[in-house]
Symmetry: C2
Subunit: 628 residues, 2 copies
């Protein structure tokens, strides 16, 4: 399903842009891009296209895209659904590389729209045009001043330029996320909405963002992707480059899936399998806007911890406890500090404070800031510490400036150990302190829980990178081929299944098969009691339910009884089943019952499921997935 | 353990306040309260106490608290730990009702401190003084201008007055939460830190806040309480009054508990049992600052939904999907809309938009705001809808003002159905729109996930209130007394246990007990095959593990074999056990294996645990608790 990554470079650096369906009214959908490209300083060609007008916003307006003389790399299509196919064909004739198609009314509306979408895809393919959309809200590229879309965000010309690029299947939501994150001080390179993804897809864009030297953090919102392998390949590529993909996946519940179908018509798929794929490909899942902003700020620093261990210095015991709770829940390790570190700490912090991790300097820091400064240096020097959380409560004024100066200095000395600050000091009473941490690129969080979440995301990504460095070189190792399955189709009975397991090296219990009517005691002569007795039939998958299993059979006498019972049970409760005999096996002692299955997932292909087996499989759904 | 609620009214309305250990330096801990009380306009008596000074901040300074002539309801104690006991005793002589003791160095520091804390408690009791603290950071009461504490928050005289009161065991953290929430537009009445809780406790304060007519929302941070019953009583009282307690409990992991011990020395206890108690008492648990702020804003409106059903109107399909996902995860119901509602919607929204809940008007609302207005009225009129989420993406300017005017008008018409808005429009570009929703007391959230969380909290609290209204009148119904337990102590065997179950009305299988050596077939003559055969011994709790159980025994012949086997297994694998015989019981068909236990919890007393029984109990820890 996956294909070679396409070249999207002209989508982010077009020589000319045509606006098909351009409007002279700058508040209309066809008028906005013309206005924004002009007003915000786009440097390439701007070509309004609309047979109704001679000029739009003072620019020559073309009757048809093919009438434009200069190169056109992008066409924005603000046309009704019924005209979209013809417009795309015209773009093909002009040699336009990308058509951004706002128009809704395709697969998201039902069968009729789906047919129109197929037509659209054909026209695009025939003309060599790659579609962004349909049913999208356009795109932004801030350094190139490309404001190609409609909606509130395009009115804001001074959006902060920064290290994040985002691809989103939902324009309305995605751009509101961009706004919300930008308001938290995180700048963007690009943000692009893909809607129904007839052409350009989110995984393709993620891969392209990895290649963009200015993008350090990749954000995404998807309802589902058509090509799971492409998503995972983009994840692995991003991981190798050290640029995290922070991905939000929606449409995970029954009602959410329904809503997604009428939204962008992307297949939402199985959430469990998506999550498995994210973990395998090193993609960091996010589940709220603030989480995305928090992680983006942590990753934008470029600092990653060497391991899973985090230390905390807090001026508030309460914050330290919450932070410790949350770190523990997220699987971070709170290491004990070295004896030397603790000894050093005891010399600087009060006797009633805590010199163990989490270090609690207590609020007496307000009387003696020096202890705070020294504690930071001591803890960062400790070899057991991979990253450091500073919990600064709501310090303000002079004290805040002194403390944050110490934090900034320490971060510069220990670049390999990320510092994350939790702090709710009011900005207007701590301007200098905020300036210091921002200059040092230290992320500040408003709660110890959010800081712990971000620290865990850093550690997780760093862990993914270590695993990748270890596993990828081994990926080409050859393995012995698996034995062929028996000819024919359908379910195998237990004995045939076990023969295959044995052939591939998975041990099974010693056992014999007894034909109906044969003497079980003689057949079991070579086995050690106690024994398990099971009905053998390709038609009986759940043997226990029909009374077809007897365990812990201790004597030959009991064996005869048990074989008679399971055969009798099968005759009584599964009269239609083909019974091939009785399986007699040695009992296995302690061990966990496991289920292993393979799912052919429409998005990700073959997926292996492993979980708690036996009678609880269906009740507990305790399954873990891996994309094969 | 629980005692009658004490009278804390003078703590929030003192006639006079003494500051023991007052300092002439307004930046010192003993100087701050004097300064703040004077500067911020406290109307009662202000009495600095310190033998070193004649005056502090222009006020007469007393050598001893007993030298003050006027009434003193509160003394703030900024003294070393070694002087605390004497200072409290002096307060007792003066008749001071409450001593706010900042000082650390008590139970949180170990055995020596714990002894000092006991002494302190004795002095307080002897003098009739109730201690707030020790190891606390003081308190705030904004309407009374009581700024009695140290730390950054006390420097901010213009903290917004509003409907929230907070009690926190951690001053540093609690006050930083207050600041953070206040910055989100939520005002406070009181905020008080209780530290080690030698005297005044968080549950007591929660109960007092319920009685405060100006407090509509109660917030709390605890590491643990000594008196679980008092906490639950406060929760039920708050529930009756319709004032939610939004409670954050920390110290829930091993490292968190350790940190709590050296912080306020409150017993953190079992988190699972706390959570059960919260649910039983109608307390809403929160796990982050933003969550607390979000819920506070939702509850401050005073509007509660009548049921669990939520409808959504979104201008962004993506936001609608996320909202639907999150609502579903949280157990909210997304009802289908009435046919009439859908018919009405189809007339106003575009053909490619969704007229099913979640209603997606799509971004075309930017071209036609009227559809939005009409959709709101239609959906709120639907009898299947208990509350409404409006997802407004980042609309700004005129459109935002028109839309939010419609939202505000609709909320006034449908007061019984709370509206929660998700919106990231920039304030400076939507001043009028923000003013309109704020005037109408409609909470605004920056993400659909946070709005869904808040909606679920409203629904949960409303559900607790319905349950309380239903259950409390029944609480006095008399029940038949339980039969006495057999004399003596120790574990009962299975047969004796089942006799007790039968006596209290829980059915058990028909069964017989066979003495060792007796004929099992004759004994089981009255039972229907298949049978279960189990070893009977008060010393063998886990019968399966020693091979002491045989199930599905189908014939008299097999029964003899089975009884011999389980007796043999017990002899071989539990030779020291007293075997009283064999239990032969009829097999029970379908049914779930359950475990029921009672825990004597140090905080909450007897707690019943119910869960999945059998061999998975220990593996899965799938237990549910109820405080008895």
């Amino acid at each position: 399903m996956s294909r070679a990554p396409s070249d999207l470079s002209r989508l982010f650096d077009p020589r000319g842009i045509a606006i098909i369906g351009a409007s002279t009214n700058p508040t209309r959908i066809g008028g906005q891009p013309v206005r924004y490209l002009l007003d915000y300083g786009f440097k390439g060609g701007i070509y309004p296209v609309n047979p109704k007008y001679q000029t739009v916003a003072g620019l020559r307006c073309y009757a048809d895209v093919t009438a434009i003389a200069g190169p056109v790399d992008i066409a924005v299509l603000a046309v009704p659904a019924a005209e979209a196919v013809a417009a795309v064909a015209a773009c093909g004739r002009k040699g336009v590389a990308f058509a951004i198609l706002y128009t809704a009314g395709f697969a998201e509306t039902g069968a009729e729209g789906a047919r129109l979408q197929v037509e659209l895809a054909r026209a695009a393919e025939a003309g060599g045009v790659r579609i962004v959309g349909p049913n999208c809200q356009g795109m932004l590229n801030l350094p190139k001043r490309m404001f190609l879309g409609f909606g509130s965000i395009f009115q804001i010309s001074d959006l902060r330029i920064g290290p994040v690029s985002m691809a989103t299947q939902s324009g309305g939501f995605g751009f509101s996320v961009v706004l919300s994150i930008e308001a938290q001080g995180v700048g963007f390179q690009s943000a692009i909405s893909t809607g129904n993804e007839v052409g350009v897809t989110t995984p393709e864009l993620f891969a392209a963002f990895v290649d963009d030297p200015e993008t350090r953090v990749i954000a995404g919102y998807i309802e589902g992707v058509a090509d799971g392998a492409a998503l995972m390949a983009a994840g692995r590529k991003a991981l190798r480059a050290g640029k995290p993909i922070l991905l939000w996946k929606s449409g995970n519940t029954v009602r959410g899936k329904e809503a997604a179908l009428s939204h962008t018509a992307n297949m939402t798929g199985s959430y469990d399998i998506y999550r498995a794929a994210f973990a395998q490909a090193g993609i960091i899942e996010v589940k709220d806007i603030d989480e995305l902003a928090d992680y983006a700020r942590a990753f934008a620093t470029g600092r990653l911890p060497a391991g899973n261990r985090i230390a905390t210095i807090s001026i508030s015991g309460g914050a330290a406890i919450l932070h410790a709770d949350r770190c523990t829940e997220l699987g971070l390790e709170l290491p004990r500090l070295d004896a030397a570190t603790k000894e050093g700490l005891r010399k600087v912090i009060p006797s009633f404070a805590s010199a163990e991790n989490p270090v609690d300097t207590t609020a007496t820091v307000f009387n003696d800031v020096r202890m705070f400064t020294e504690a930071i240096e001591l803890v960062l020097s400790d070899p057991n510490v991979d990253q450091l959380a500073i919990l600064a409560a709501s310090m303000m004024g002079e004290i805040a400036a002194t403390c944050m100066s110490a934090v900034a200095t320490a971060q510069r000395r220990f670049e390999g150990k990320p510092i994350l600050v939790t702090w709710t000091g009011r900005r207007e009473r701590a301007e200098e302190a905020y300036r210091l941490v921002e200059e040092a690129q230290i992320p500040v969080y408003t709660s110890p829980v959010r800081a712990a979440n971000a620290a865990a995301a850093l550690a997780r990504f760093a862990g993914y990178r270590r695993r990748q460095a270890e596993v990828e070189p081994r990926a080409t190792e050859s393995r012995a081929p698996l034995p062929p399955l028996p000819a024919g189709s359908g379910a195998l009975d237990e004995a045939a299944s076990k023969r295959i397991l044995t052939a591939i090296g998975i041990p099974t219990p010693r056992e014999v098969t007894v034909a109906p009517g044969a003497d079980p005691v003689a057949a079991a002569a070579g086995l050690a009691y106690p024994l398990a007795v099971k009905i053998l039939s390709p038609d009986i998958a759940h043997k226990t339910e029909i009374g077809g299993v007897r365990l812990n059979v201790g004597t030959p006498e009991a064996l005869r009884v048990a074989v008679g019972e399971v055969q009798g049970a099968a005759r009584a409760r599964a009269p239609a089943a083909r019974v091939t005999g009785t399986l007699i096996a040695e009992m296995i002692g302690d061990g966990a019952e496991a289920i292993i299955g393979v799912i052919d997932d429409p998005v990700f292909g073959p997926v292996v499921a492993v979980g708690l087996g036996g009678i609880f499989t269906e009740v507990l759904h305790d399954l873990s997935y891996r994309v094969a």
